[in-house]
Symmetry: C2
Subunit: 209 residues, 2 copies
């Protein structure tokens, strides 16, 4: 593991979390992985990108697993049963392996995808959550997607629900809860660039670099 | 309101939140109010301190209010009905008035007691939540109260539940959720003093001072 470190960023849709992550990774000179993980998981597994896109940050549909509150049983062991090879759980396993492999090779910044939980045994992780005022999130989503405020609000609520379901299904922690992360910050308070500064300072202090 | 500002600190039991608040208030030269609010509310109302102590950060027992999800109806208007004058809701009203009065008079730091929600219309508020790893919380509680780890863990879980119930009952936000606060920080990452530094920097940047 040597001097490598990892920054994991959870984020509300429209919070600017991806942009903050990109800027932070560039500034710290480390790899940046958000949607890029889909391409890598596809290459690693030989499965079509489309499967990963469809399953991206979606909890498994498995009724038994959901009812019993079971977590994904394959993480950390090995083989993916052939019969399950296109289930969300199996795709999660492939993506988890990609995340772990990258984290072993070099310093990285991961956005979403339970990376903080997947790498929970790595003491050189800094786990951050980016929230944002609803007004600012709606404003940003309207601007990016050229949609109405009403549509932006719906999109925002659906995405939060989906991300929380995904995270809460695959991890033992709670998405968006302060106690899940080392640092949570509302990006509308200081704005994107000053939030990048602030998260960078925190990460450096935690890591002693 | 002039140049006054307010720092509100929510905190998990055993997180060091009170200590962080005290040190921060001293450093910034502002009033510090935690349990002190009980004494002030007692003086203000002429009611015995004991009533406030018993109700401290406890949600109302009112079944109808609880079932219908009603919030305290007196906030912001005026009179406390005599028949209710010792209910938790009425005591909350007295305490809220004390918090609002203090915030009008001078810069303050409030610990807990929904102060962030009570002062939600004040743009010069910095709302912070202090979390902490369970190991460190238990260690701190054992040390302070000379109790076993098991007892500390029970105390911790009960206090979190009580604080969440109180906050969620009286406010429209969620206790301990990242999106409720401007900044959430795990005090076990940097330690108490460096966390004070960090929160102070954030507050100064937010307030432009």
């Amino acid at each position: 593991m040597n001097g490598n470190f990892i920054i994991n960023i959870g984020r509300q849709l429209g919070s600017g979390g991806r942009e903050i992550g990109e800027k932070l990774a560039t500034r710290m000179g480390i790899g940046f992985y958000d949607k890029e993980l889909i391409q890598l998981a596809s290459e690693e597994s030989g499965l079509c990108c489309e499967f990963f896109e469809r399953a991206d940050e979606k909890a498994s549909q498995g009724i038994i697993g959901g009812l019993l509150g079971m977590r994904f049983p394959f993480v950390g062991d090995g083989a993916i049963p052939v019969t399950n090879c296109l289930s969300n759980d199996a795709l999660f396993k492939v993506q988890s392996d990609v995340i772990r492999k990258l984290a072993e090779e070099k310093s990285c910044l991961f956005v979403g995808r339970c990376a903080d939980y997947i790498l929970r045994d790595n003491p050189r992780c800094v786990n951050v959550f980016i929230s944002c005022s609803n007004e600012e999130r709606i404003r940003r989503l309207c601007q990016i997607h050229s949609i109405s405020e009403h549509v932006a609000e719906e999109m925002m609520n659906k995405a939060d629900k989906k991300r929380a379901e995904y995270y809460n299904y695959y991890s033992y922690k709670k998405w968006g809860a302060a106690e899940t992360y080392h640092l949570c910050i509302d990006s509308s308070v200081l704005g994107i660039d000053a939030t990048v500064d602030f998260v960078e300072e925190f990460a450096k202090r935690k890591l002693g670099i």
